[in-house]
């Protein structure tokens, strides 16, 4: 409940502050969004499984974003940035879908 409220607060902050994204940060934005979505779905799933752990949620979000950013950064340096980005999106995308499937089973038993 608190997390949902905080999410709404973050959205409101983003809408009102309307920050400019620095140029050097822009390549990481899509990856960060995917990692964030992954964390949200993972958190909701764990909550429904009654296994939600604050520490794990926070650490997994931060580490996911950092690792995803690191992979993209390395890929950019090596000249295979788009391919590695695709890899990150595929892996996190699969996780999002399977977490969504678990949530669906919990909510609709289907």
């Amino acid at each position: 409940m608190i997390a949902a409220l905080a999410l709404a607060v973050g959205i409101a902050l983003g809408v009102f502050l309307d920050p400019d994204v620095p140029l050097w940060l822009q390549p990481y934005l899509p990856i960060a969004v995917i990692a964030a979505l992954d964390s949200v779905f993972g958190g909701v799933r764990a909550r429904l499984d009654k296994k939600f752990d604050d520490k794990q949620f926070v650490v997994s979000f931060i580490s996911n974003v950092l690792i995803a950013a690191l992979i993209v950064y390395l890929g950019d340096q090596l000249g295979v940035g788009s391919q590695l980005s695709t890899g990150v999106v595929v892996v996190l995308g699969i996780r999002i879908f399977s977490n969504a499937a678990a949530i669906r089973r919990h909510l609709f038993s289907a």
């Binding site: 999410l7 799933r45 604050d54």
Partner: protein, 289 residues
């Protein structure tokens, strides 16, 4: 799927399985929440709850920022494209205007030259040469050859044999030259000795300006040009194209054709010879390249 996973609680971990199992393990083990949560006590303190709230706020913030960033980028792209299109249009209009100016100035130069020469025979000889070179508009009787694309094949992957390509136009033009044509224009584009008819992708360019289907080739030449052209192998070939592939091909003797002048070619390598007595430009802008 889920049942199978639960049936194999201690399935093999490690490097063994093939790549498909990698994806499968992503699917079955989406998050680490599952692995040993039972053994590990979950402690929720006020601090960890606050951390979660902060993280959730950061996530929400991130999503909105990304959304707004994407929304902001989309119209910018469209705007840039519109600007480019406007640029192209204005540059084309400017080119046309300058072309008109150049033609006007060319006519001025010609009339001044004729005045200076004061010698009708010499002026006429010059005019004739300019007309032959394609640098002056000409009129006369000749022939109009029209070729157009045949119907597209129903199978989109099949080769479109009825389509007019640059070599078709080249063949017709060369045949007309060989029959003694003195001036030829394609879609109102006059050909000179240095004209190029070539293809760029699907488009046919005459002197780097695109010409479009149907292609009208007008030529001024000897009185029986049309009849002679119809007797050439080229005409037979195109008749066959017309029968076999549906390519449009008509040859018509036409009187009182007017062909426009071609733009004067720019001097890339040669420099005009300065009349004796003039001081050469010290910067050498005309010849020093």
């Amino acid at each position: 799927m889920r049942r199978r996973y639960e049936d194999e609680p201690d399935k093999q971990r490690g490097f063994g399985p093939v790549a498909v199992d990698l994806l499968a393990s992503f699917w079955h083990d989406p998050l680490d929440y599952d692995t040993d949560a039972a053994k590990r006590p979950i402690r929720r303190t006020r601090f960890t709850r606050a951390l979660t709230a902060v993280t959730a706020a950061v996530i929400g913030f991130l999503l909105v920022v990304a959304y707004q960033h994407t929304i902001a980028a989309a119209p910018a792209n469209a705007e840039i494209r519109d600007q480019l299109i406007a640029d192209i249009n204005s540059r084309q209009a400017e080119t046309d205007r300058m072309q008109d100016d150049a033609e006007q100035l060319g006519e001025d130069v010609e009339s001044l030259r004729d005045e200076l020469l004061g010698n009708d025979a010499e002026a006429e000889a010059l005019d004739n040469q300019a007309a032959l070179a394609g640098l002056a508009a000409v009129e006369g009787d000749g022939v109009t050859v029209t070729v157009s694309d045949g119907p597209k094949p129903e199978d989109p992957s099949a080769q479109d044999l009825g389509r007019v390509i640059d070599r078709d136009i080249q063949t017709i033009v060369n045949t007309l030259w060989s029959l003694g044509a003195e001036a030829i224009a394609i879609d109102e584009q006059r050909l000179t000795a240095t004209s190029a008819i070539r293809a760029a992708g699907a488009a046919i360019l005459v002197d780097f300006r695109p010409v479009t289907d149907p292609y009208t080739i007008t030529a001024i030449g000897p009185p029986d040009l049309a009849r002679e052209f119809n007797a050439t192998p080229t005409a037979h070939t195109f008749d066959n194209y017309s029968n076999d592939y549906g390519m449009g091909f008509t040859v018509k003797a036409t009187d009182d054709l007017t062909l426009p002048a071609a733009p004067a070619p720019p001097l890339d390598n040669a420099a005009p010879l300065l009349p004796p007595g003039t001081v050469p430009d010290p910067s050498g802008s005309a010849s020093g390249r």
